[in-house]
Amino acid sequence: MIKVKNISKSFDEKTVLNGISCEFEKGETSLIIGQTGSGKTVFLKCLLGLHKHDTGKIIFNDRDFEKMNESQKMELKSRIGTVFQGSALFDSMTIEENVMFPLKMFKNIPFDEMLDKVNLVLKRVELENSNKKMPSEASGGMQKRVAIARAIVNNPDYLFCDEPNSGLDPKTAIVIDNLIKEITEERNITTIINSHDMNSVMEIGEKIVFLKNGILEWEGSKSNIFKTDNQAVTDFVYSSNLYKKVRKMYQKK
């Protein structure tokens, strides 16, 4: 479980996050949504420790991240899996080496055992027999699946995904979304996804946090996002013509 208490972050006097507080439960897929520039990526990077927040607290299972010493922070980070927007695969390594990387860095186990674990997660993301391919030889969807495999190979407690289906066709995007949701449930981990895709919200969003101009504007579940009166949320949700039509249909009914 992750608790965020009143975090703020500014860059050169420009406030990007302003007093955000929320909680992310274990075994649940949470989505941070909002328009471009709303502070989603900065929020995720603060959670990951890539940006230091100016005020507030981030608590991982009752342990304040800021109060941890370096080795405790490193130990925590080794239990976090991350899927970046651009996959961030190491382009000088094969798919197998990419997925094996966290094991090589943090586990002292024989190579064969590492290979078994790699093959297991590659099978889980439906990429068997792709071990020796280079990332440049893989499609966008495959690269995302490799990134997911790399993120989960070390059995993390937390999974962070920054727009995992950006740049993918709608069908592949749904496959990736479902894969993340299934893995979250199977392994009972805390998953946080950054997205601006309403399809993801409808498909996998158990808890939704809506950011606007660095402020937590609304939070709830996918079932009540369509019922809310919050103007900023309805503007965001019904910005697509498809959802406008769906809304009209419901209103007629």
């Binding site: 980070k77 080794s78 651009g86 961030a88 695969l89 190491f90 860095m105 943090f106």
Partner: protein, 245 residues
Amino acid sequence: MSFLHNIGLYIIMLQKMFHKPTKWKVMKELILKDTEDTVVNSLGIISFVSFFIGGVITIQLALSTTGSFYPDYLVGYATRETIILEFAPTIISIIMAGKVGSFITSSIGSMRVTEQIDALEVMGINSINYLVFPKVIALLLYPFLISIAMFLGILGGMTACVYGGYSTMSAFIEGIQTDFIPFHMTYAFIKSIVFAFILATVPSFHGYYMKGGALEVGKASTKSFIWTSVSIIIFNFLITQMLLG
């Protein structure tokens, strides 16, 4: 102000390079890979440049020292001094700033742009130690490259001198052996070690702290070449003043 900020950032990078070392098993592979990328893959260009520049130095010296006032061995002597003292350690290092320096900046810069460095950091890996330290260790072999440059430069000079008909082989060899000061070799290798450290760290700094996209990677490579060359020239002056002045 920005200059001082960058110097401070560079010093912090050097400090962080020694923190939280990467597992030796992984580091060993990185050092071997970086040795291949920076040292072994530079052998060809260094051999080629050294041999032919050695030849050109000798021809120019021979042409400007013709006449009965100059002893025959002078060409060999002057070639040796020029190559050992300045050409091999300094000029080759500036060539390496272009070849190895831009390779280091662009490879680390591309990793920054594609979030690969962020991926290392969120895994709890000290990315500076992982990326920069193996390059520093790999370039400890740099004096070996410089000794090859010295040998081939003098060999190129001798070939040009003898086959160009400027002097005899025995006179050239006599020149190479005349008034040889072993400390000049020590001076050249001390310079090489310092330049190797600059070659590994200055381009890494420009790649690691770059911001932006693909265009900025190119700009960072150019900037890195300029600053690596400037650093080499400044340290060349300081070391020469300290050791020979």
